[in-house]
C-alpha cells in the first residue's frame, strides 16, 4: 500500500465517527456559543442579537457568583472526603478474599442506582419527621441535632454533598483499587523492608505511585460537581432561599421557568469555560509528582 492509499484507508475509517462527532457534539457547542449572543425566549424562532449583553448581565448577577461558589464548595468538600475514603477503602478491600469481593460489590452498588432514586432515598433518610437520621439522633438523646437538614440554610448544601459522596464513592474506590493493583508487589515489599510502614508508606510510596490516577480522579470530581444537577434539583430545588443553587439549576430556572434561553445559554458557556479552566488548573497543579525528584 502506498502511503497515500494508506491515508485514504485510514480516513475512510475515521470519517464516519468524525462526522457524527462534528454533527452531534461540536455543532451544538458552537451553536450554544452563538445563542448566548441573543435574547431568545426559546419558544419561537424569533430572536434578537444583543452581543455580549447576556454576559454583562451574568457577571453582574449575584446569584451566578453564589452558584459558582456552591459548585466550588461542593467540589472541594466532597473531593477531600471522597479521596480520603476511597483510598482508604480501596486499600482495605484490595486483597482477593471473599469478603473483599463482596464489599467491592457493595461499595459499587450506589453507583448503579439512578440519581433520581439516590435523591429520593436521601430525602427519606433526611426527612425531618420520619427520617432515619433524626430518629437515630433522637434515640441517642441528641434531640437538638434533629433538624430539617434540607430546609436549613446552614445544612442543606452539606446534606447534598453527603448524598453526592454516597453516590460517587464506589466509582473512586474501584478506580483506586485498580490502580493499587498495578503497583508491583516488590516495590511494596522493598518499602516494608526499608521500614516504611503505615502512613509513611502511604505518603512516600503508595500515593506517588497513584499520582496519575489521583490527577484524573480530581478532574472527574471537578466535572462531576461543576455539572451537578439532579440531586440538587430533586432534593432542594436550589433552596432554601438559594442556599443550594448551583450553576445548572440556575440555568434550568432561566431557560425553562423564565424563558430566558439566551441568558441560560450564556450560563452554559460560562460553566463550560469554568469546567475547562478548573480541569486545566488541576492537571497543571498536579503535573509534577512531588515525590518523583526524590526517587
Amino acid at each position: 500500500m502506498t502511503s497515500q492509499a494508506r491515508s485514504a484507508f485510514m480516513a475512510g475509517f475515521l470519517l464516519p465517527a468524525t462526522v457524527l462527532y462534528a454533527l452531534f457534539v461540536v455543532m451544538p457547542v458552537v451553536q450554544a456559543f452563538a445563542f448566548s449572543l441573543y435574547r431568545w425566549r426559546g419558544i419561537s424562532a424569533n430572536r434578537t442579537f444583543v452581543g455580549l449583553e447576556n454576559f454583562r448581565q451574568l457577571f453582574a448577577d449575584p446569584i451566578v457568583w453564589l452558584a459558582i461558589r456552591h459548585n466550588l464548595l461542593l467540589f472541594v468538600g466532597t473531593s477531600v472526603v471522597i479521596l480520603a475514603m476511597a483510598i482508604a477503602l480501596a486499600h482495605a478491600i484490595g486483597h482477593e478474599t471473599g469478603t473483599a469481593r463482596f464489599l467491592r460489590a457493595v461499595y459499587l452498588f450506589p453507583q448503579v442506582i439512578s440519581l433520581v432514586v439516590v435523591a429520593i432515598l436521601w430525602m427519606f433518610i433526611l426527612n425531618p419527621s420520619f427520617g432515619i437520621l433524626n430518629a437515630t439522633l433522637k434515640a441517642a438523646g441528641l434531640e437538638r441535632w434533629a433538624i430539617a437538614w434540607l430546609g436549613e440554610r446552614s445544612t442543606a448544601l452539606a446534606s447534598i454533598g453527603v448524598a453526592h459522596v454516597w453516590h460517587a464513592l464506589g466509582f473512586y474506590i474501584m478506580l483506586f483499587a485498580a490502580a493499587l493493583r498495578t503497583i508491583p508487589p516488590d516495590v511494596m515489599e522493598a518499602a516494608t523492608l526499608d521500614g516504611a510502614m503505615g502512613l509513611t508508606r502511604l505518603r512516600y510510596v503508595t500515593l506517588p505511585m497513584l499520582w496519575a490516577v489521583l490527577r484524573i480522579a480530581l478532574v472527574y470530581m471537578a466535572i462531576g460537581t461543576m455539572n451537578i444537577f439532579s440531586l440538587v434539583f430533586l432534593m432542594t430545588q436550589g433552596g432554601p432561599d438559594r442556599a443550594t443553587e448551583v450553576m445548572l439549576t440556575y440555568l434550568y430556572e432561566q431557560a425553562f421557568k423564565h424563558s430566558e434561553f439566551g441568558y441560560a445559554t450564556a450560563l452554559a458557556v460560562v460553566n463550560f469555560v469554568l469546567v475547562m479552566a478548573l480541569s486545566g488548573a488541576i492537571l497543571a497543579l498536579f503535573r509534577h509528582n512531588p515525590q518523583e525528584g526524590r526517587a
Binding site: 425566549r41 419558544i43 419561537s44 419527621s129 430546609g151 423564565h258 424563558s259
Partner: protein, 444 residues
Amino acid sequence: MKRTKYALLGIAVALTVVVVVSCGKQSPTATKELEVACFKGGYGIDFFEQAAREYEKAHPGVKIKVWGNPRVWEQLRPRFIAGNPPDLTYPGWGMDHWALVYEGQVIPLDEYLDSPPYGKTEGRWRDTFEPSLLELCQYQGKTYMLPYFFSMLGWWYNKDMFEKNGWKPPRTWSELLALCEKIKAKGIAPITYQGIYPAYAVSGFLIPWVISAGGIEAFDNAQNLVPGAWKSPAFLKAAQMMDELRRRGYFQEGANGMDHTGAQMEFLSGRAAMIPCGTWLHSEMRNVMPKDFRMGFFLPPVLDEGKGDPTAVGIGIEPWMVPTKGKNRELAIDFYKYMTSLEKAKQFVEQKGTLMSIRGSDQANFPEHLKEPVEVFRRAKTVWSVEYRQWYPRLGKEVEDATAALLAGNITPEQFVERLERAAEATRQDKNIPKHTDTRGQAR
C-alpha cells in the same frame, strides 16, 4: 464523472416519484386530522381521548389524535420553535404560557368566544364560562387562553381529629391562635406546609392575609406593580402573622425541609392537623391516603378586623390554547367547544372530581371531598389568582425565596417586605419584561 451525474439524477427522480405516490395515497378523501397535545397530570388524558372518539363519531371524516405525558411542555417547545405545533394544546404548568402569547405563537380567541357554543346557532360561547376564570386568560384586552377545570386554594383539616377533640375549623385569626394552642397541647403539629416549594405558603398564608389586611386592592396593586405595593402595611401585616405562627411553634417542626408529598403525608398520617393546599390534594394523594381518611376544606382564617372580603377565594387554572401555526384552527375550536359543552363539563366533574370553568357544571354530583370547596366557591364574592408568578417569573421566584427565608426565621417581616419591593422594582425597571396591567381580583 458523467456517469455519476446520471446516477444521481436517477436517484433524485426515483425519490420524487416515491414521495409523490406516497403523498397521493395519504389523502384519498378529504379527511381532516386534528392533533391535540395535553399535559398528563393527576386527571390523566383519557377523558380527552374519549371526547375525541365521540366527536369523530359525530363528524365523519374527522380524525383526532390526542397524545400527552407528564412533561409534554418539553416536547412542545421545539415544535413551537420549528413552526410545527399541534392544532390544540393544553401544555401544562411547566409551560411559560405568556411567553407563547408574547411571541405570537397562540391566537387571540375573542372572535370565537363571541360565536355560538357547540351545536348551537345563537348565544355566545363566552357566556358559558365562569367570567372570572376567562379574565385570567387576557392580555392587553384580548383572550389568548381557555380555562378547563380549575382549582381552589385553601386549607384542609383532618375531620376525624377535629370531631374527636371537639375542634372547629377556625374562621378568624384569634380563633386560629386559640385552636393551635389546643392542638399543640395534644402533641400534634397544628399546621404543616410544603417547605421546599414555597409557592404553597405564598398562596396559603401570605396572599390571603394580605387581602384580609388590606383588601383585594392591596393584592391587585402588588400584581400591577404599583410602586410601594409590595411593602405596604398589608404585606407587612401578613408577614408578621406568618412570623408569629413560627415563633409560637405552630408550624410543624421541619416543615421547611419537606417537599409537597412529604408534608401532605404528615397531614394524612395525623401528625399535623391542617395544611394549605389546592383542591387537587385528594387526587394527588389518593393512592397513599388511609382508606377512611376524611378531610375538610376551609378558607384561611381572616383577621378579626380585616379590611378584606372574608369570602375571597384563591383559584388557579391550567389553560388550553390554539397555536397560530396549527393547521386546523376552526376544527380545533369546534372540538374544544364540544369539550366545554355543559354535558361534557358535568361528566368531567363527576369522573375526575374537580371543579369546572363552565357555568352550571357545579350542579353535578360532587365527590365528598369537593362538597365543601363547592360551597366556598358559591359563597365567594371575590376571587383572586396568583398571576404575577406567571407574568413575572423572576419576581415570583424571589417572593418564594423570601417566603422560605421568613418561615425559617432567617429574615424579619420588615426585611421580607423590603426584599419583595426590591424585586418588584427590578421587574418594573426591566424594559424587556412585557407588563400586564389588567386588574384582577374582581367581584364576581
